[in-house]
Symmetry: C2
Subunit: 228 residues, 2 copies
């Protein structure tokens, strides 16, 4: 019997790339669209895109890396606190374990049995509280670093796509048209894969991602026109 | 006995505002810094900031809203699948429940008792699998919508801060200096509160948030100079 559990799972690397690239597509695309409505030279649009890509990739990459480190520190602090609590307030911590089993739907008898078994081994007890009371699992430090780097790099590549249209055309108006066409295609493709990777409906996901990009770009375009 | 469990908790509203505002500070600040190194007029810096703030707030707000809706759809799909699995493969699903209790550290006897109790009530059984096998809790649709709106609006306010320095000065160089001073102060303040809200060390968090903004801004500044 082939019991095929197809709940979401995918390679971290691929999903980092898709996340970074699809975010990188959206904001620089919309930024360039907005500026293109106000300036006469492609040089200024490209300058702004470069600044945005650098800013966005560092904010996303470095921000993600530091958040990962903070998460690890946080895990360690909470772990220490939980160990201390099993010493300082064993009865209260036991009651908390019991409550978790109660919420799961176990009977009084099973709750008591399970609690007594768990608290015999402090490591198991603390691991249980970390996971089921605090919803914390030990973060992987290397994964956070790699993930931040991959997302940051993918953001750069994603951001280069809408920008290139302005590099290879001579007026912001033409640049905007080509940028729009190329980016919409890319947003659809990345939205499709992003949804597939996270177990969503791919066509719907592709349309949603395109909609975010197009709405952001059109809003930036018209708002900048309004302010100028 | 005052057993003070100070694990992280805070108002959703406040934390949305702090997240949106601190992200809004970082990217428009760095973007403006980058552009200020290449242009002679504050008008262009402000135009680019407006485009970025619109783009970023829509990408973050609308993106967050649609992601919230997708999460809800995903939850419903998985819920339906789990119900179906308890009908199609009850033995396998029971074994999965047992394995979860095994990993928790319960004895064989308690595992069996707990499994038998759970599977008597299909709703409890499915709720258990959703939470402990798939790590999914029912998302709150209204919360996602409100959260997306708050983050988007806070991004606009955050982004306006580094921009205003260019509105009220007459050259990009002066604008950059004022923008830098004001934004660094705001990054420190928001980093401090953001860390407090999420249970991190506030001083360290303030310095990290400032570092991300300053590194992004300096990188954008010098890279744009290089390309021009």
């Amino acid at each position: 019997m082939a019991h095929d559990e197809e709940h979401l799972k995918s390679s971290d690397f691929i999903s980092d790339i898709v996340i970074g690239m699809s975010d990188g597509l959206t904001v620089p695309f919309a930024l360039a669209a907005g500026i293109s409505s106000a300036v006469q030279s492609n040089g200024l649009v490209v300058t702004a895109c470069i600044a945005e890509i650098v800013a966005g990739s560092i904010a996303m990459g470095l921000g993600g890396y530091l958040a990962g480190k903070t998460e690890l520190d946080h895990y360690k602090t909470e772990l220490k606190r939980e160990y201390q609590e099993t010493i300082d307030y064993p009865e209260i911590e036991k009651r908390e374990v019991k409550e978790i089993f109660e919420v799961m739907g176990l009977s009084q008898q099973s709750q008591n049995m399970a609690v007594e078994e768990l608290v015999k081994d402090t490591d198991k007890w603390v691991k249980f509280m970390m996971k089921y009371e605090l919803n914390l699992e030990e973060p992987d430090k290397n994964k956070a670093r790699k993930s931040a780097f991959n997302i940051g790099m993918a953001y750069v590549v994603g951001g280069a796509i809408p920008m290139l249209a302005y590099v290879f055309t001579s007026t912001p108006q033409t640049g905007f048209k080509f940028s729009f066409i190329i980016t919409v295609i890319c947003l659809l493709v990345f939205g499709y894969f992003k949804s597939k990777l996270t177990g969503q409906k791919p066509i719907m996901g592709a349309l949603k991602m395109m909609a975010i990009g197009v709405i952001a770009a059109m809003s930036a375009y018209f708002l900048v026109k309004l302010f100028n």
